[in-house]
């Protein structure tokens, strides 16, 4: 393993629990590279995760880490950030964790624009429980709970958090591995709610059931299904069905919750001082 990464991993926790060919390691390496390039202080950074394959990431990172309950990572992260705004708070989560059981926390964190960086390892399945369909499973997919084909529509998580008010929203894939650190770095440095959707492969539980039994098959599928944001603008809705649109969708400035709350605390302190001065007179 490259030394650059080694310094940020808990090497005594290796190997990971992930299957051979899993995309999670690519995302996690991308996070480390992004963190290193961001210039942020590791001491002031907390990694929060939920439950699922991707959420195991927290256990492998040599940071302050908290592996919480299924779907609730963002709520724990909100408590950490709102109580100690000086901490950088990162949530490493999966598609099931953050958009099914934890969907409510995702949209409300985006709405209140709290300064969290959420990285979603989006492999469109519940790998930990052997591959049931998730909110991002492509329509028609065969999974452990859709053996006749998945008949629902998948979430576009980027559109969801954009609509909810996130200030940084981007999507890339494990095939476009170089984009991961770039986007996560932007997310880390954004003062506001940031969301990076990383399409990742699960060859063991998703690929095998969908005629992509090797990691390479899945990477090719991800490559062939990916459409650049600019190209996507010229495509119709039916042409975009089943595609992953990649790129930066939102990168804007907006008042951030914990900073605004700090201003309130300062304002009330000032008011109290003025009140005390007035009382003396």
């Amino acid at each position: 393993m490259n030394r650059m990464y080694e310094d940020y991993y808990r090497m005594d926790r290796m190997p990971t629990i992930w299957c051979p060919g899993c995309g999670n390691g690519i995302v996690l390496n991308g996070f480390i590279e992004a963190f290193k390039n961001s210039g942020l202080d590791r001491k002031n950074t907390v990694i929060v995760s939920g439950i699922g394959c991707s959420s195991r990431s927290a256990l492998y990172l040599d940071f302050d880490t908290i592996h919480t309950t299924h779907g609730r990572a963002i709520s724990f992260a909100t408590g950490i950030k709102q109580s100690r705004p000086e901490l950088n708070v990162v949530v490493l989560t999966g598609d099931g964790d953050c958009s099914a059981i934890g969907g409510n926390h995702l949209i409300h964190a985006a709405r209140r624009n709290i300064d969290l960086t959420v990285v979603c390892y989006n492999n469109s399945t519940y790998g930990m429980t052997n591959g049931q369909y998730s909110p991002t499973t492509p329509t028609g997919s065969i999974t452990a709970t859709s053996m006749y084909g998945f008949m629902e529509s998948p979430f576009d998580l980027c559109k969801l958090v954009e609509a909810a008010g996130a200030t940084y929203v981007a999507r890339t894939t494990t095939f476009h591995a170089k984009m991961i650190p770039m986007m996560i770095k932007n997310a880390l440095l954004k003062k506001g709610f940031s969301f990076v959707d990383c399409i990742a492969q699960c060859p063991t539980y998703f690929g095998r059931k969908n005629k992509m039994s090797t990691p390479a098959d899945m990477m090719k599928w991800i490559r062939d299904s990916s459409v650049n944001k600019k190209t996507a603008e010229t495509m119709s809705e039916s042409e975009l069905a089943g595609k992953f649109v990649i790129g930066e969708f939102v990168n804007k400035e907006k008042p951030e919750l914990t900073a605004e709350y700090t201003k309130l605390v300062e304002r009330l302190k000032l008011k109290e001082k003025e009140g005390a001065a007035y009382a003396k007179v």
Partner: protein, 377 residues
């Protein structure tokens, strides 16, 4: 002891006063009757003292945020009622297992389900102990007056930090909304957490060699520690080792069971010569007090046992009085919950009579008095 002048306030307000005296700096909650005044007062008061408030999207998130703040080293609390308390259960179990000090107020209202939202009940007292899955340590306190709401809130913070355990303040709607005069102390120092003196690298978050309650580290201090709701070893990492797993389960039980003297608190009235002991808690204890006074004026030697600690259950004192009295009368605003604990601890030594009522009304003293009279017939 320095006191400020008497204040006339409701139970929920007394809870907030107590919490702030104890050092509360973070509140996360979701609106629900009859606990809402706690959230409203925290929203008003916390920013004035450099603390922080947040109204979360649901009860589950409120509990998560409170645990997050606790690991960040900030004293934290949430408050809820009935349905909200049910929603908090999973994260409450997490808090207990990862040993995150925090205070959860449950202003009990009539259930099940939405029930009678503005009416009192005492029907979550078993849930408070057993609501979340798995064996787990927990402390549950129960106030019977506005004064006791203030004092037990402070006590809840002290116990949660001392034993690294979530503490539930199981108030009922009557206590929460009743107004009484209380004395607010201004000489209280915030409750202190026991932090590790070890250096990063030497610190283990669940180090059992440091006693039953391991000292903590907080986020941002350079310890780079992990915590997980999976079964974990002393270093805070997942393990499926049966020996380590059992050792953790044992320590979690022992940190409460071997400290009962520090935790359990019971108030007794006229028990010295009592022939009939009334066991009642929360607002029911107030009706019970009227009943024993009336019984005494009718020549029946009645006494009252009011547990301030519902969990761990005050076994010893119940067993001790069961040897002395002829009968116990258990009165509670539910269909019979704590009565099973009382019965278990009585070892069949005395007669047992009950008053159960779950219709949203306070139990009237007459109902308890009738049972006291029946007991000595």
């Amino acid at each position: 002891m320095k006191m400020v002048k008497n204040k006339f306030m409701q139970g929920n307000a007394a809870c907030v006063e107590g919490a702030i005296s104890a050092g509360l700096k973070f509140y996360a909650g979701y609106p629900i009757t009859p606990s809402t005044e706690i959230a409203e007062l925290c929203a008003e008061k916390l920013p004035k003292i450099g603390g922080r408030f947040i109204q979360m999207e649901d009860e589950i998130a409120s509990m998560g945020a409170v645990i997050g703040a606790s690991f960040a080293g900030v004293m934290s609390m949430t408050a809820t009622s009935g349905p909200g308390f049910s929603l908090k259960q999973e994260n409450l179990g997490y808090a207990s297992f990862v040993e995150a000090p925090c205070v959860v107020v449950n202003v009990m209202r009539s259930g099940p389900s939405t029930g009678l939202p503005t009416s009192p009940a005492q029907s979550d007292v078993m849930q408070a102990k057993w609501g979340t899955h798995g064996d787990h340590p927990i402390i549950v306190l129960c106030p019977d007056s506005v004064k006791s709401m203030y004092e037990l809130t402070i006590r809840a913070f002290e116990l949660s930090e001392e034993f690294r355990v979530p503490v539930i303040l199981a108030a009922d709607e009557v206590i929460a909304h009743m107004r009484e005069a209380i004395e607010i102390r201004d000489d209280l120092k915030p409750v202190q957490r026991r932090y590790t003196t070890k250096k990063p690298g030497e610190f283990k978050p669940y180090d059992d060699s440091e006693g039953l309650v391991p000292p903590m580290a907080k986020f941002g201090d350079g310890y780079r520690f992990n915590t997980t709701g999976l079964m974990h070893d002393t270093e805070g990492f997942p393990t499926s080792d049966p020996v380590k797993s059992q050792k953790l389960q044992d320590r979690l039980r022992d940190k409460i069971e071997k400290n009962l003297e520090k935790i359990v608190s019971v108030k007794t009235y006229n028990m010295d010569d009592a022939e009939v002991a009334v066991f009642a808690y929360g607002s029911t204890a107030r009706s019970a007090m009227a009943a024993i006074v009336e019984a005494r004026s009718n020549g029946v030697k009645a006494g009252l046992i009011v547990p301030e600690t519902l969990w761990p259950f005050p076994e010893k004192i119940i067993s001790m009085y069961a040897e002395k009295v002829k009968a116990f009368v258990v009165a509670e605003m539910n269909m019979g919950q704590m009565v099973y604990e009382v019965e278990r601890c009585m070892h069949g030594k005395a007669k047992l009579l009950t008053v159960f009522q779950a219709n949203g009304e306070l139990i009237k003293p007459e109902l308890i008095l009738n049972r006291i009279k029946e007991a000595v017939k």
